[in-house]
Symmetry: C2
Subunit: 334 residues, 2 copies
């Protein structure tokens, strides 16, 4: 999808937009269904949102979960309580069906695709060097773009990578302002001293670079699985597939792009609000209201996978309810 960094920049300048007429038709349809107007709350909003992207009717049958894994040189700085080997071990766990995302995908009938991205070649330690070369960044973006199934109704985006909440917090600070301490959280389970140390590592990375373009930010401070999620979100946008974002890392991957082009999130829903500290702040900056708030902080696309149930409920009520006229139900003030 992206042969050069210019292709990426060009895409952000000319993305498909939502179909406003389909949205209006969906809003009118909602008014005719056998319920007080507005009483399905955000389910109604989601139906209208989907109508802006999906043709000819909204649907949530075929939901794809794309899960990208990467390793990070910054783990050398002691930013995670888990060893970097866990990334590959968890990928094996995904492949054998033993992880949380497997259980959720199975329970909800979601198609899960796992993409480990050169786990044997961690990115550079961002506190002292750039994460990737330009070619590596393009490769990661394209791996993400290629992962999207053009037949999916909705794509849910997730990640796994020991050390990647450090990368995520760094991308947020570099793109949206603030220090390491503004964005760093406990990740998989750091104590408060660990978070302070992590924040200092982030501040070193920030000090090493100046103001960055979206592409440069992903290249110099990012990670393969984060760039891949950006690629997947862009590929979905190109073919008008709505996206369910997962938690802090998945959203943070979008921060550099959002800073350059806020409309990139117009086809995205925030699946949940993670308990990871920076996520609430980031969702506020994105002006995205999460569908769920269940104090989860696992990653793996788990929050997005769970939120597919909400999207399905929105589609089911929008498409399967009777109207006041068809059901012979009196409308208000009758």
């Amino acid at each position: 999808m992206f042969r050069t960094r210019s292709d990426f920049e060009d895409f952000l300048g000319a993305m498909p937009q939502p179909d406003m007429r389909s949205r209006e038709e969906a809003m009118l349809h909602q008014q005719q269904l056998t319920k007080p107007p507005g009483s399905l709350g955000r389910l109604e909003e989601i139906a209208v949102f989907l109508a802006g992207w999906q043709k000819p009717a909204i649907r949530a049958d075929h939901i794809q979960v794309v899960l990208f894994a990467g390793n990070h040189g910054v783990t050398k700085q002691g930013v995670s309580p888990y060893p970097a080997e866990v990334t590959a071990q968890m990928v094996a766990n995904f492949e054998h069906g033993g992880a949380a995302i497997n259980a959720l995908a199975n329970a909800f009938g979601l198609q899960l695709f796992v993409h480990p991205l050169e786990l044997e070649r961690p990115t550079g330690d961002i506190s002292v060097e750039d994460a990737m070369t330009e070619d590596e960044t393009l490769a990661a973006l394209n791996a993400g773009a290629d992962a999207v199934d053009a037949n999916a109704d909705i794509v849910a985006i997730g990640e796994m990578g020991i050390g990647n909440t450090t990368i995520a917090a760094t991308l947020c600070a570099a793109s949206l302002g603030g220090t390491g301490l503004d964005w760093a959280g406990a990740g998989t389970g750091l104590d408060s001293a660990g978070v302070v140390h992590k924040a200092k590592v982030i501040d070193r990375a920030l000090a090493r670079v100046g103001s960055l373009t979206a592409f440069d930010c992903l290249q110099r401070l990012g990670g393969r699985e984060l760039a891949a999620m950006v690629g997947a979100v862009c590929a979905a946008r190109a073919i008008r597939i709505p996206v369910l974002l997962d938690g802090f890392v998945a959203c943070a991957a979008m921060a550099p792009v959002f800073a350059r082009q806020p409309a990139i999130l117009d086809h995205c829903l925030a699946g949940h609000r993670s308990a990871e500290r920076g996520h609430a702040r980031l969702l506020e900056r994105f002006d995205l209201k999460p569908l769920l708030d269940l104090e989860m902080r696992l990653g793996e696309g788990s929050g997005a996978a769970l939120a597919t149930a909400i999207a399905r409920a929105a589609v089911a009520t929008h498409t399967r309810m009777a109207t006041f006229a068809s059901a012979g139900v009196s409308d208000r003030d009758a």
Copy 2:
């Protein structure tokens, strides 16, 4: 289940309690699953909650939605923008599969049972007379108790009844204190003048009665579908089936019982926080954290039905994930 009002009182004094040992075992099991401890947030809490009630293993395959409908004499006071005939019309809509709860039950594979309760005989207008006789109250409680399927893994509780947010607000004020205005909301769509009028109707009902026992409160100020929900919650408790409560009306039905015996809610989860004004306040009094907050305010069990997805996710992750040992994943600080 309840031949006399004493049977009801006696039940509240001697209810089954959660199995604390099963809860502890579930907590230990959660620690061994391939995820950072606590990272599934409320899914872990729900798994432990279910373990306190379900034997030998937690499960959420067979979920029953019981939906009770009733009519209310208080609609004569102009407390709803919809005519009372809509209750029967919506019951027909449920039976023909055209309502929101049908779409949700179908999408999520839930068994829906609709129980209209003497719709041709509205309860007394509570602003001037008692809602029911003692026998009518017992009949409604027993209709609810009889509706619970002993083979259900989880029972979701809902209601439909034009005028019943007035009944609900009255039960809250009578049981937990406060005035009509503290608990009244827009219901199906009153404007602010309508809410003020509704609050005055509630205050007349409150002034008519003094301090009441739980049973008397349901009899004098309640409604058939609200008493039926209480009966269903009690019957589920008797056979250790966890309950998903729906929104304001379903929760308000429990307020008189909660005021007498707060432990009645120990086997209940709050499916969602309704946009109906009194619900947030009521959930705080109950000390129940809702699973969802999607600005819904429809009733019909719709919020509880949607929350079954969260319960299923909790069961799926608890029962189907690998452990660190079985998956060969390194635990933290390894």
